[in-house]
């Protein structure tokens, strides 16, 4: 496309490349490893390349190590952390860089700073002294002229074996020093040895220090003798200035005996003559007073001052000086002198009365160094308490002689009875006195009475233990026995023994069984004596929650506002500290033997609402107030009911009670059989279809449940919604007066209200024997629905109704919702089922609602009058309202 003419129009910039010549080889680029950079001094600088785009030193473009990415083994830097100094950027700079950037060598600066800091640590007194000319190591005070210091005694120290060169020179130099002593020179006084306060950190003997390897091998050989004891000879040398150290020997142990190392520079002594004079020629005792302790003994203290205590031959340890006063010699008391005829043999002489023994015998006894001892008074330890009491002329102690007598008379009687039964059962004669027996239980059956006294509950559960597995027959008999014992049969043992056995076998087996029953008690039983009973059965879907929880915050808040601190704001719990914690705190364990730690825990439903509600438990008996009046009916029904409902949970009870309340409405003449059927249906959640009206009634409370769940929480809304739902009720609502007129007539069905006794029993049981989650306080229940047993329940629908329609109060709304909460929880599993039911229940509910009053009306028509006659005071709802209003704050949410 481009024509030649156009080409010539190009304008050129710069110089053109030289035309390529064919034969010229292309210049090889310098390989990476040869691209080096040198600094000013010709040293190689390395770039790792991350910042400069250069190359990685050594391992090209790799991670910079031979192993590549292989991680090295972890090395903890924890120990180094403590003495890690803080690095500043200067620490990582080259000197040149440092110089370039900062213009000075910072490191030297740092050194001077360090010096400064050290100087700072020297106290002002030392600084002043220094300025006055004092040098370290000198004593204080005016300078003195020194007399010839010492008379070196005779020859130098004898050396055994090969001598150390340092010592030889030492001696000579000291001599030199003595020789040279100009007269006009004064010396600083000798430093007084400061008291040594260094702690003794090792376990060596006093004054002993092991061989310091530094000194022995490499260290200051000038010290020469690396004795394991550092007596003050070393130190005095130090004071004079250590001349030898200036020689600068490298190794501590050198010399002829060890030869000269190859690396040793100082080989001057190789050919040194070892004169014989330095060796011992005689085995003599001219020890320097040191032969006392062998060669490991402490070096002898230099006897420069002659004031060593004369009696002391040993040497002084460092830091010790001889006492000026001799310690008082300990007075030694001689042992008592023995009588001449003493015989060091002990014998027990027979106690003889003087009259009974023949004279010869008495003489013989006397000869054997005893006088007749029969008359010797008994020591007080030989006397019994009563004997002593008699001697002192004191009266007998008053008060119970045994624990048994401390029991109440009633209990004593009971025990007596039990024991007598036991005795009778065992065939033993029951003729012995009771107190006699209580002190000394019959030896034949030591366990049986005790077991019986313990009661059946204590030995219960021993069936899990099979002490006689080897003998299945026996095991069977044993289990039978335990069963009977549990049942409270006193003749359990007798009855379950094999009749074919011999008397002896039987007796043995009796013993075995009773012992086994006592021994093989499950731990839960033995623990139960210490703890409160677990209230709830164990289950898989239970969680542990604290037994007691901190109370409601609201009333505490109020208390705090009123500044009423104290019992109102305080919660007190039993808390078990861990055993180790007590030990560490030096505190005795407050609950010795306790296996738990922390707060006491109980098992609760995992998904229970009540784990999160903190409702103070109300006294169970408080709900009895109202139904005292209506208590007389149907003892037989109740009695039939009692054993069945005994082990049921509160939840079951409340459900049952609801149903009864509902069912009692329309069918006053319900039989007990009908009740049970209905209950079963209610528990299963699908009532039998044929009993239509029962089902309707049953569904009514569950409708409330749904209200509680699905309606919004505010009372006005739910009440309005309920009124909306209850479209058929509205005509009735329009005439509340009619309702009020109807209400009082409403009968308490005869089959419902419980007898007093039963209810009392129930109340007790509520405290002890209930399973399942805690209910809202029975206080509310009891007041609202007249009887916690729920059998009566007569006014319930009555008072529920006006509250739902006529001006209701908050308290009223409270109750049904609570009631349904527990129901809701319990029926969680059935919820989906219920949801299916929901619609038709809603449909059925209005029918139920308008049926109920009709039913009541009809009942008032047919049987109500007679009921009224039987139950004269059905508690008007107004009264109820009042009571509800007067409820204490507790438990209201």
């Amino acid at each position: 496309m481009a024509s030649d003419g156009e080409e010539e129009d190009f304008s050129y910039f710069g110089s053109a490349l030289e035309p390529l010549e064919e034969d010229e080889t292309t210049k090889k680029p310098t390989p990476l490893q040869e691209q080096t950079v040198k600094d000013e001094k010709g040293r190689y600088s390395r770039f790792h390349g991350a910042f400069t785009g250069g190359f990685s030193a050594g391992y090209f473009n790799s991670v910079g190590s031979k192993e590549g990415w292989t991680p090295s083994t972890f090395v903890s830097s924890r120990q180094q952390k403590a003495d890690k100094q803080l690095f500043r950027p200067e620490h990582f700079m080259d000197e040149e860089v440092l110089y370039r950037f900062l213009g000075c060598d910072l490191r030297s600066k740092a050194v001077t700073l360090l010096d400064l800091e050290q100087r700072w640590r020297i106290t002002i007194g030392v600084q002043l002294l220094r300025r006055m000319g004092w040098k370290e190591g000198q004593g204080l005070g005016p300078r003195v002229k020194r007399k010839p210091r010492r008379q070196r005694c005779g020859t130098g120290v004898k050396v055994y074996g090969c001598s150390l060169p340092g010592e030889v020179t030492e001696g000579s130099q000291e001599e030199e020093e003595e020789e040279y002593q100009p007269e006009n020179v004064t010396f600083a006084p000798k430093d007084v040895m400061p008291m040594d306060f260094t702690q003794k950190a090792d376990r060596h003997g006093l004054g002993y220090s092991g061989i310091d390897p530094h000194r022995a091998l490499y260290g200051a050989s000038g010290e020469g003798s690396f004795s394991t004891f550092n007596a003050d000879s070393d130190r005095s040398r130090n004071l004079l200035g250590d001349v030898q150290s200036s020689k600068g020997r490298k190794l501590g142990i050198t010399g002829q005996a060890f030869g000269v190392g190859a690396l040793e520079e100082d080989d001057a002594d190789i050919y040194a003559r070892d004169t014989l004079s330095r060796y011992d020629t005689v085995l003599a005792e001219e020890e320097p007073g040191d032969g006392l302790y062998g060669w490991t003994a402490p070096q002898q203290y230099k006897k420069t001052k002659g004031l060593d205590a004369p009696g002391y031959i040993g040497k002084l340890l460092e830091g010790f000086s001889l006492g000026s006063r001799a310690t008082k010699s300990k007075k030694v008391y001689c042992p008592p002198e023995l009588p001449r005829d003493y015989r060091p043999v002990h014998y027990f002489r027979p106690v003889v009365a003087p009259g009974t023994v023949s004279t010869a015998m008495a003489l013989a006894l006397e000869a054997s160094a005893g006088q007749l001892s029969a008359e010797a008074p008994k020591g007080r330890h030989q006397l019994s308490a009563t004997q002593r009491r008699d001697l002192l002329g004191e009266g007998a102690l008053e008060g119970p002689r045994s624990v048994f007598e401390l029991l109440a008379a009633k209990d004593q009687d009971r025990l007596k009875q039990v024991q007598q039964q036991q005795q009778a059962a065992c065939g033993a004669p029951a003729s012995r006195d009771l107190s006699d027996r209580s002190q000394a239980p019959p030896s034949r059956q030591p366990w049986a009475p005790r077991l019986a006294a313990l009661g059946g509950g204590r030995v219960a559960g021993s069936s899990e233990f099979k002490p006689f597995v080897k003998n299945p027959e026996k095991q069977k008999r044993y289990e039978e026995y335990v069963e009977k014992l549990k049942g409270g049969e006193s003749d359990a043992l007798q009855s379950c023994l094999d009749l074919n056995m011999t008397e002896w076998e039987r007796a043995r087996e009796q013993d075995e069984f009773s012992q086994a029953a006592a021994l093989y008690r499950p731990t839960s039983v033995s623990l139960s004596s210490r703890f409160t009973r677990g209230k709830f059965a164990e289950d898989a879907d239970k969680v542990e929650v604290p037994e007691e929880q901190e109370g409601d915050v609201n009333d505490k808040e109020a208390a705090v506002k009123m500044k009423m601190f104290g019992s109102l704001t305080r919660d007190k719990f039993e808390w078990h500290p861990e055993k180790v914690l007590c030990k560490r705190f030096n505190v005795p364990d407050p609950y010795p033997g306790s296996t738990i730690a922390g707060l006491l825990k109980v098992k609760r439903d995992k998904y229970s609402v009540f784990n999160f509600l903190t409702v103070p438990p109300a006294p169970a008996s408080s709900g009895m107030g109202m139904k005292r009046e209506s208590v007389q009916q149907d003892k037989s029904f109740k009695a039939a009911k009692a054993p069945e409902s005994r082990r049921r949970s509160r939840w079951d009870m409340s459900a049952e009670e609801k149903e009864k309340g509902a069912a009692g409405l329309d069918t006053a003449e319900t039989s007990s059989a009908l009740h049970t059927v209905e209950e079963v249906g209610a528990e299963q959640g699908n009532p039998p279809a044929d009993k239509a009206d029962i089902e309707e009634e049953e569904s009514r409370p569950s409708m409330d449940l749904f209200k509680a769940i699905f309606a919004s929480s505010s009372e006005e809304k739910s009440s309005s919604s309920s009124s909306d739902e209850a479209d058929e009720d509205e005509d009735e609502e329009s005439s509340p007066g009619v309702r009020d007129a109807v209400e009082p007539i409403q009968p308490a069905p005869p089959a419902v209200s419980p007898p007093v006794k039963e209810s009392g029993f129930r109340a007790r049981e509520a405290g002890t024997e209930e399973f399942g989650p805690k209910l809202p306080p029975t206080l509310l229940f009891g007041n609202a629905r007249l009887s916690p047993d729920g059998a009566s329940g007569s006014p319930v629908p009555g008072c529920e109704r006006p509250e739902g329609h006529g001006g209701s109060t908050a308290h009223h709304k409270d109750r049904p919702r609570k009631k349904h909460k527990d129901r809701q929880k319990g029926k969680k599993q059935k919820k989906d089922k219920k949801k299916k039911h929901k619609k038709h229940k809603h449909r059925s509910k209005p029918r139920a609602r308008d049926r109920a009053p009709r039913g009541s009306e009809s009942s008032s028509g047919e049987s109500g009058h007679s009921d009224n006659g039987r139950n004269p005071r059905p508690t008007p709802p107004l009264d109820l309202l009042k009571r509800l209003k007067n409820l204490p704050l507790a438990g209201r949410r």
């Binding site: 915050v553 601190f565 305080r570 560490r584």
Partner: protein, 282 residues
């Protein structure tokens, strides 16, 4: 308004004696050692520093925490230090070597406070994870001796006496665990508690809470013995304590002052200057 003159015997510190620069981070806590000759600063730069407060010299820096150090305490024999921090750990240090002796892990959140027991055999630490853990210094067990998880909210302060553990929690309760009696006393105060402390005579407990009030409670009954107000404390965790003779109550305040109250007569006596430390006291 004129305050009544302080009682003649009481001399209150009125000026700051010394001020030392502790480094870049905020100081989270300052604690004296047992005899008051040294003090520890817990810094948010992950370090714990030992000072001689009388000369103002830094003696040692203990590095090893992974995050802010929140509290520290010295052992009774001055040989060890325990500290805790936002890295969920409690660390036991050797004072002299500066090395880490033990590291206790187990808390689920920031550890707010730490204390030795009387013999320095147990470390008690309170954390934001609502638990108090008692760590054993004697054995090598990695797990705590006991976990006190009764609090419903973070534990802000813990004090230990010879047989009690006193804790203040954000759930507004002062809990006292009595090991000797085996009981737990929970006193409801209402407002989140920032600091608790025993009186020197061991009869009372002082608690400061976020409603700008210090409350003096009787230890045995939980009754309110005194209330001290006037300072400002509504956001931060500030410390309170008694003076050495139990005559005054001292608290920090968010206006940077230290407030002193007479224990019995309540007027606020003096505000000392203390501008830097959010948690200034022993």
């Amino acid at each position: 308004m004129a305050f009544p003159a302080p009682r003649p015997g009481a001399r209150l510190p009125a000026r700051s004696v010394r001020r030392f620069a502790c480094g870049p981070g905020a100081v989270r806590a300052v604690r004296f050692n047992v005899d008051g000759n040294y003090c520890l600063t817990c810094s948010s730069d992950k370090s714990l520093k030992l000072w001689n407060p009388h000369r103002g010299t830094l003696l040692k820096t203990y590095a090893g925490h992974g995050y802010e150090v929140l509290d520290a305490a010295g052992s009774c024999d001055n040989s060890q230090i325990c500290s805790c921090g936002a890295d969920k750990t409690v660390i036991l240090w050797d004072v002299a070597t500066g090395q880490l002796v033990r590291k206790f892990r187990g808390h689920g959140g920031k550890v707010n406070c730490v204390q030795f027991n009387e013999e320095s055999t147990v470390i008690v630490s309170g954390s934001i994870d609502t638990s108090i853990r008692c760590w054993d210094c004697r054995s090598r067990r990695p797990e705590p001796i006991q976990i006190l998880d009764e609090a419903k909210d973070g534990v802000s302060s813990v004090k230990v006496s010879d047989h009690e553990i006193l804790s203040g929690s954000v759930d507004g309760r002062v809990r006292r665990y009595d090991l000797r009696m085996g009981q737990l006393f929970a006193d409801y105060v209402g407002s989140p508690i920032t600091s608790v402390c025993f009186s020197r005579d061991g009869q009372c407990s002082l608690s400061s809470s976020l409603d700008c009030t210090l409350r003096l409670l009787d230890k045995e009954t939980g009754e309110l013995l005194g209330e001290y107000t006037g300072h400002r404390n509504s956001e931060y965790q500030l410390d309170c304590c008694f003076n050495e003779s139990d005559t005054h109550v001292v608290s920090a305040s968010e206006d940077g002052l230290v407030y002193f109250w007479d224990l019995v007569e309540h007027p606020q006596l003096l505000g000392g200057e203390n501008s830097r430390f959010p948690r200034p006291f022993v």
